[in-house]
Symmetry: C2
Subunit: 214 residues, 2 copies
């Protein structure tokens, strides 16, 4: 089943999950695909198609039960358990990511930041994530069963540091470095390109209104 699922689909499921979390906080118990679409500027047919694919059908006249659908989406996305992650690089970006509330709220546990700058090692991010020496990465990754490494070191050092992470058995890399990174077979690499978001705004500025407001 999962072999057919593209990253665009998982990205949509993530967005549905965010919306359901917002609805749950607002005390909403059930929601139709149409209401979900209208409220969050999504596509109702796409929602129904995506959810039907995972065997989740709305109930006629009711829609979806917010709590059940949320739990189901968390299972599908693999965030129904705590996933341990480390951040490579305790510069501005690494520190910002360590304190990014969304990660913690969503079941990700940021175990540590790693850096090579002596003055930083032994310190903490604002939210209390410890900064450790890069030399300890292997030991920490193994002992804590770290599954994800977030790469936030400058481009010049990125490959070396990611190699250390994959050598330590880390199986998934979220890469914020703009330079291309290679990973061994069996390791999943996800590149985050922040420029893409800015370009969707420049497109709007150049052409005016577009479909979808988020």
């Amino acid at each position: 089943m999962t072999e057919q699922i593209s990253e665009l689909t998982t990205a949509r499921l993530s967005i549905y999950l965010r919306c359901l979390e917002a609805l749950e906080i607002a005390g909403v118990k059930t929601v139709s695909s149409l209401a979900l679409a209208e409220q969050f500027h999504l596509n109702a047919a796409q929602i129904r198609k995506d959810l039907a694919y995972f065997g989740e059908f709305g109930i006629r006249g009711v829609g979806y039960y917010v709590k059940d659908l949320k739990r189901h989406l968390r299972e599908i996305l693999g965030v129904d358990r705590t996933i341990k992650a480390v951040i490579l690089g305790a510069g501005n970006l690494g520190l910002a990511l360590a304190d990014y509330a969304g990660f913690r709220d969503d079941g990700f546990d940021i175990v540590a930041l790693f850096d090579i700058v002596r003055e930083k090692i032994g310190g903490y991010s604002k939210s209390g994530v410890p900064i450790r020496s890069l030399r300890d990465l292997g030991r920490v990754a193994e002992r804590e069963h770290v599954e994800i490494a977030v790469n936030a070191v400058p481009a010049a050092a990125a490959q070396v540091v990611v190699d250390l992470a994959t050598a330590a058995g880390i199986k998934a890399i979220l890469n914020f470095s703009p330079s291309p990174i290679r990973v061994p077979r069996g390791v999943k690499l996800k590149n985050v390109d922040l420029t893409v978001s800015l370009e969707s705004l420049s497109f709007y500025l150049a052409h005016g209104r577009m479909e979808g407001e988020d």
Copy 2:
């Protein structure tokens, strides 16, 4: 034409542009949709469909001219000119974004960071972006014709600061704050949720291999 274009399409066009930039640096002159798809783990049929929509057709036996297609995509995405942007908040995230090479390389000019902390005002990010008082936002935005504000202030202050930006005539907001933000009609809001990227990795960790490697 542009009314039918979703943000998913512009995101794909951005990714094609990144790939073409990489090919140009590597000295590649022409590329087929198939080669583009294989090299960058994209979908060849989707590439042809997206580009045909914008009137860009490959040439049989040649494919696309890298330089021409790149220029055309930059026009479509509205980055064939310099777009001025400001960053709200000179914390770790704001400073990281100010120094993010991708923004500058892609024709975005980060005019200034804005903050309310006195010790920060008058300083600079590592790459030399000045940190100014939030009180100067309106004046700077008007004088410099700033079009985009990137919101990197904590959730509690986000709405107030974004209101200042839209009052200053800024027409597009890139929001990194996890809390929901409202903008007046006619202003484009793009929310960046970094958790979505992490969830695509947790999906992989839970289910194994998936289609598309990037």
